[in-house]
Symmetry: C2
Subunit: 353 residues, 2 copies
C-alpha cells in the first residue's frame, strides 16, 4: 500500500541500509549501536559514519520485539491534574529520559476497576516495569502484575503486603504525628476533615493516624470526622459543618491541602481568626500552602524526588539487579506554619510505624 509512504513520509532508513553502506553485516551495526561486545575500532568508525550519513534512527519497536524488552515504563495515577501525582511523574520522566526509557501513562480516576483495565491494556504493550499509585488495587490487578513477573512499585504510601515493592511514606504516621503536634501546641478539640468521594489508602491511613493520636491523649478526645469533597469548596463547607457540630472545635486537620486552604479562605470570608479561634492544618504542602494567609501547617513530602527514586529503583531492577528491600521509606516532614499554634519548632520524621 502506497499508504505506508504517506504515513511515514520518506521511507525510514533501516539497519540493513546502514550495513550495506558501511560494508558490514547487520549484526555488526547492531553491536556498534548497542555498544555491546567487541567491534574493531576501525569498523566501529565506519558504521558510525554510515549512521550519520544516512540519518539512521533505530526502530525501537523492532528492537523491542527482538530484544524482548521495550524500554517503556508504565505509570498509573488517579488524576494527572493533581499536583501531588503529577510531581511524582515529573521526577520519573526526568530520570527515565536520561536513560533512554520512556513513560506510558494512564489515569485511573480513583477507580480500582479502571486501574485494572489500564493495567490489562498496558501489559499488552510489554512495558519493562510498572508504577502504581497507592496500595489499594483489585485482586485481578495484583494477580496480573504478579504473573507478569515485572518489577512493580506502589507509591505514596507504605504497606506490609506490596505486590512487589513500595516507595513512599507512612500516611498513618504522618496523620498521627501532625495530630499529636496540634495537641502539643495547645489545640484541644481537633476535628479531622476527610474526603467524601475518593476513598483511598492514603486518605484512610491519615484518618487512622488521627484516630490513633486521639486515643492516646490523656483526656482521650473522641475523634470528630467530617466528610467533604476534596476541593477548595469542600474545605469551605467543612468550616460550616464543624462549627455547627460543636462550637468547641478549635482545630481542623484536613486530609488534603486543597480542603485546608479552602477552609482558611472560608474563615477569611467569615471573619474567623486563624489560628486564634481555629487552627487549620493540611497535608501535601502544595505551593499554595506557603503562599496563603496565614500560611498553612502541613505535611511535606518531596514527591519529585520520590519519582526520581522510583525511576532509579525500577531501572535497576530492569537491569536485573535484585532488590535490597521491598520497602523504601522516603519520610515526611511537618511544616509548621502560621495556621496553627506554633512555637517555631521544626520536626523531621521517619515513618516510624
Amino acid at each position: 500500500m502506497g499508504d505506508t509512504t504517506i504515513r511515514d513520509g520518506k521511507a525510514a532508513v533501516r539497519i540493513s541500509d546502514v550495513a550495506r553502506h558501511a560494508n558490514v553485516g547487520a549484526g555488526t551495526v547492531s553491536r556498534v549501536i548497542n555498544g555491546s561486545q567487541s567491534v574493531a575500532p576501525e569498523t566501529r568508525k565506519r558504521v558510525l559514519a554510515a549512521v550519520r550519513e544516512l540519518g539512521y534512527v533505530p526502530n525501537l519497536v523492532a528492537r523491542s520485539l527482538a530484544a524482548n524488552r521495550t524500554g517503556i515504563i508504565a505509570a498509573i495515577i488517579p488524576v494527572i491534574g493533581y499536583t501531588q501525582h503529577a510531581q511524582v511523574i515529573q521526577g520519573l520522566t526526568e530520570v527515565l529520559h536520561e536513560r533512554g526509557t520512556n513513560l506510558m501513562i494512564g489515569a485511573s480516576g480513583h477507580s480500582p476497576e479502571m486501574e485494572e483495565k489500564i493495567v490489562g491494556a498496558f501489559l499488552a504493550r510489554r512495558p519493562d516495569a510498572f508504577y502504581l499509585t497507592g496500595t489499594w488495587h483489585t485482586d485481578v490487578t495484583r494477580e496480573l502484575l504478579k504473573a507478569s513477573g515485572l518489577p512493580v512499585i506502589e507509591g505514596s504510601n507504605l504497606t506490609e503486603t506490596p505486590i512487589d515493592m513500595v516507595v513512599g511514606y507512612s500516611n498513618f504516621a504522618a496523620g498521627r504525628e501532625l495530630t499529636r503536634l496540634l495537641a502539643l501546641r495547645g489545640h484541644r478539640h481537633i476535628a479531622h476533615v476527610t474526603t467524601k468521594y475518593e476513598p483511598n489508602d492514603r486518605i484512610t491511613d491519615r484518618l487512622n493516624g488521627y484516630k490513633a493520636a486521639c486515643s492516646e491523649f490523656p483526656r482521650a478526645q473522641q475523634p470528630i470526622v467530617i466528610e467533604c469533597e476534596n476541593s477548595f469548596e469542600g474545605g469551605a463547607e467543612a468550616i460550616a459543618l464543624a462549627l455547627k457540630f460543636d462550637q468547641r472545635i478549635d482545630a481542623l486537620f484536613c486530609a488534603t491541602d486543597l480542603m485546608a486552604v479552602g477552609a482558611i479562605l472560608e474563615c477569611q470570608r467569615r471573619g474567623i481568626e486563624v489560628p486564634t479561634r481555629l487552627g487549620i492544618a493540611g497535608f501535601d504542602d502544595l505551593p499554595i500552602a506557603s503562599a496563603v494567609v496565614p500560611s498553612l501547617t502541613t505535611i511535606h513530602v518531596d514527591r519529585v524526588e520520590m519519582g526520581r527514586k522510583i525511576a532509579e529503583v525500577l531501572l535497576r531492577r530492569v537491569e536485573g539487579e535484585s532488590l535490597l528491600s521491598h520497602e523504601i521509606d522516603v519520610g515526611f516532614e511537618i511544616k509548621e506554619r502560621n495556621s496553627t499554634f506554633t512555637k517555631g519548632e521544626k520536626r523531621r520524621n521517619r515513618s516510624t510505624g
Copy 2:
C-alpha cells in the same frame, strides 16, 4: 537465556497457540481479533473460546511492527506538574484509553532544545501522532516532525504557520480583551505582569495583546511591563515592584493565575484593598482563582475538553481521514470576578484575531 522466564513470569500465550487450540491458522485468529474481513461465525466463536480459555493477550509490540502502527500517541508538555498542561493530558488520556490507544509523555521543562531531544527519542518509537505544547519549536523539531509525515497538533495557542495542525485559542486576543475589559470597567493605569524565566509563545502573545489594547485607548496608555518569576512568590514581588515604579498603577493584569493569586495574597498581607486600591486579573482560571478572597478575574479555557478534542482529531487523522482545517479555535471566556471593578457582566469570545 532462562532470564526470559524470569522477566516474563510464565511464558506468554502466542497467537499460534490460540490458532492450534482452535484448529485454525494464525491468520484467522488475527482476523477475528482485529474484527477485520470475513470470518465464518462458527469459526469466530471457536477462536474467541480459545482466546478466553488460554487467556491470550495480543503482543502489541509485535502487532506494531507488523502493522506499521503502534497505537501510541506522543505528547510533550513543559512541566507535568502544571495544572493547565496536566488538564490537557487528562482529557487526552480519557479519549485515547477508550480507543485502545496509549499515551507516551515527556516534559520539556520549557526548553525547545529539550523538546527537540524528546521528539527525536519519541520518533524512534514510531508513535502514530504527536501533541506539542505551544507553537515555538526549534527548526530541527519542525523538520523532524514534518519529515515523519505524522499528524501533529500544537496546542494551547494559535499560529498562522503550524507544523501540521493547531488546537487552541488566541492568547493575543485573550490578553487584549481582558485588558480592554479592565479599562472599560474603570481601571486607568493597568500594568502587565509577565514571566521572567519561561519565555514562550503563550505568555508573549498575552503580553502583546495587552500592548495592543493599551495602544488603542483614547488616552493611549504607555504599557507598563513587570517581569517576575511565575509563582505565588513572583506575584507577591510584582506588587512591590509595581508600587515602587508608579503609585498611580491601579490594576495588575498578570499573565498567569499563579502570579495573580500571589499578588492578591500579598495585598492581603500589606493591607492593600483589592479591587478598590488595586485591581488584579489573571489568566488560566486555576481552581484557586475562584476560591481566593477576593475571587480572581481571569481567562478561562476548558483544557480538559481541549485535550479530548485533540485526541479526537488526532485519532481521526490516524484513521486516514483528511483534516478539514489546520486550525481549531476552542475559544476562551473571561471570568469576571471580584478582584477587579465589575458590573457583573459576562462575555464569551471566539478568538477573533
